[in-house]
Amino acid sequence: MTEPIVYIDLGVGGMTCDDCVVHVTEALESVPGVESAAVDLATRSAVVTARPDVGASALAAAVRATGQYNAFERRRRAASGE
């Protein structure tokens, strides 16, 4: 049985180019429990697919630890079916 997952919408600040998108994606995907992260430069946001126990502060901390970017949680949505 697969573990339940959630989509976590984040606002992301500080990105100016595609390299930034790569850095933020890597930072988010390094957080234990994160399955994937889709980061968008134009809308300055990300959608993280993760286990429900992944906290907003862990995601934000991973992005801020880059020293260049910021992230904050907007909301989380249950994956389809729920």
Binding site: G11, G13, S45, F72
Partner: protein
């Protein structure tokens, strides 16, 4: 644009803009609501237009009163309407450059025009639109206080809104005479400005000038004002006012005697009232204090965790001051706390502040009375500026510098200056206090000779030496 944003800011002054810019950097989608003109008080009807006109008034005054023997007094005529028009151009250009185009340049910032009122903790009606914000900043500033004086509601009067470039309250004709109610910084700045431009000015103040500041400052200023022909009626209680468009009469009681001050126009400058009365804060559950200022903790959070307040609307809490750069700093702190969990507290210990009279005034830190009130061991010394070489060289000897210093560790607790260039030189004192410097640091530092900044060195030396006997460069 959706009607939901990450950050909803009420107001568009310097506080709001600093918060918006920082929040946008941090990734937030921001909306800013404004019911008057974009840019708030400072740009439109505060700092900027007042400093513009005050400098013009200084030119008029200096032409008529050159300080040097051998310079012959002349006349710089005042074409008031044209003077106001150039001020309006300065304001509009500044507003376009520093506010409107900054707003245009921010990704995901929307400006909402209209009066903002809370509907519930997350929803604000702006005009006829409903907007929700995950986080909200109240940065609605302040407006002139209108005191409860019998008759005031029935007569025309001016407030500092007279400085506005575009609103109905603006002034375009120089009054032949002006009665000024109030003795605070706005009252004294505008009183001297009008006097120098040609109005006959009478100040009616409840206490002395600039109460709350070091008493020497207001006292010195009152002497200068009297010399310049401004009548200062300190310790006056206003009984009632009456009049019409052609003139006003202010009935006062001063030292037990009754008297009537007549003037063409009346300027009410008796303080500032926070813009919170129509915000519907009670519907959101945001607490205000007895005077209507929004209650905040040191991190500038209100009683509701997702609502912050900053700038003039929080008044003097946490040693804040109602000044533009203070609000801007607070706006930035709010954005950091709201979107980067920064947990930053506002620290109002070192806030330099100036009053742009002539001579100007600048202060940083505590007054002697404040230090005494908390029973902290300290000493104070006041030095007249006539001991500063530059003051004598350029015939600007009026003024003084006062230091208040801890006797525990010689740390400087407050510096208060009235005199030439005070608003510039105060930064040395502020920087010193920022780095927790002691009195000896002011003395150790070689100062440029001859500058008014030497006043700080000499003011510091006054604790240990007879400053009347210093040689060149205060060594």
């Amino acid at each position: 644009m959706s009607d939901h944003v990450d950050f909803l800011i009420l107001g568009s002054g310097s506080t709001a803009f600093a918060a918006a810019i920082r929040a946008a950097d941090l990734g937030a989608r921001v909306a800013m609501a404004e019911r008057r003109t974009l840019g708030g008080t400072c740009a439109n009807r505060g700092c900027l237009p007042s400093k513009n006109l005050i400098e013009a008034a200084r030119i008029v005054r200096e032409a008529a009163h050159p300080r040097y023997d051998g310079l012959i007094a002349g006349t710089v005529g005042v074409e008031f309407a044209a003077l106001i028009a150039q001020k309006d151009d300065v304001v509009r250009e500044y507003r376009a450059k520093k506010y409107a185009s900054v707003a245009d340049g921010l990704a995901d910032l929307e400006l909402l025009e209209g009066d903002a009122t809370f509907v519930d903790p997350h929803t604000v009606r702006v005009g006829d639109r409903m907007v929700t914000g995950d986080r909200i900043l109240v940065a609605t500033g302040s407006r002139p206080t209108i005191p409860a004086i019998p008759g005031l509601a029935d007569i025309p009067y001016l407030t500092s809104d007279l400085l506005d470039a575009d609103e109905a309250g603006r002034l375009t004709e120089l009054p032949a005479s002006l009665a000024v109610l109030g003795g605070g910084y706005i009252a004294v700045e505008l009183a001297q400005m009008f006097s120098r431009l040609g109005s006959r000015v009478t100040i009616v103040a409840r206490s002395g000038l600039l109460s709350g500041y070091e008493p020497d400052l207001g006292r010195t200023l009152a002497e200068v004002f009297t010399d310049e022909g401004i009548e200062v009626l300190a310790g006056s209680r206003v009984d009632h006012v009456r009049g019409d468009a052609s003139g006003v009469e202010v009935a006062i009681e001063q030292a037990g005697a009754r008297r009537v001050v007549s003037a063409e126009r009346l300027l009410v400058a008796t303080g500032r009232t926070p813009n919170t009365d129509t915000l519907g804060l009670e519907r959101a559950g945001v607490a205000v204090d007895a005077d209507g200022f929004v209650t905040v903790n040191a991190q500038l959070r209100t009683s509701l965790p997702h609502v912050w307040a900053a700038g003039d609307v929080i008044g003097r809490q946490h040693r804040s001051q109602t000044a533009t750069p203070v609000g801007a700093r607070q706006g930035r702190i709010v954005a950091d706390n709201a979107f980067a969990d920064a947990g930053k507290a506002f620290d109002g210990t070192v806030i330099p502040r100036a009053i742009f009279t002539d001579p100007p005034i600048a202060v940083v830190g505590e007054t002697e009375a404040e230090v005494r009130a908390r029973h902290y061991p300290a000493v104070a010394a006041t030095t007249p500026l006539m001991y500063v070489p530059r003051a004598g060289a350029v015939h600007k000897p009026t003024g003084l510098v006062k230091f208040i210093v801890s006797t525990v560790d010689e740390r400087v607790l407050g510096v208060h200056v009235i005199g030439e260039s005070a608003p510039e030189i105060i930064h040395e004192a502020a920087m010193a206090m920022h780095f927790k410097a002691g009195l000896p640091d002011f003395i150790d530092l070689i100062h440029v000779y001859p500058t008014m900044s030497e006043a700080l060195k000499i003011g510091a030396q006054a604790f240990s030496r007879d400053v009347t006997k210093l040689s060149c460069c205060a060594e």
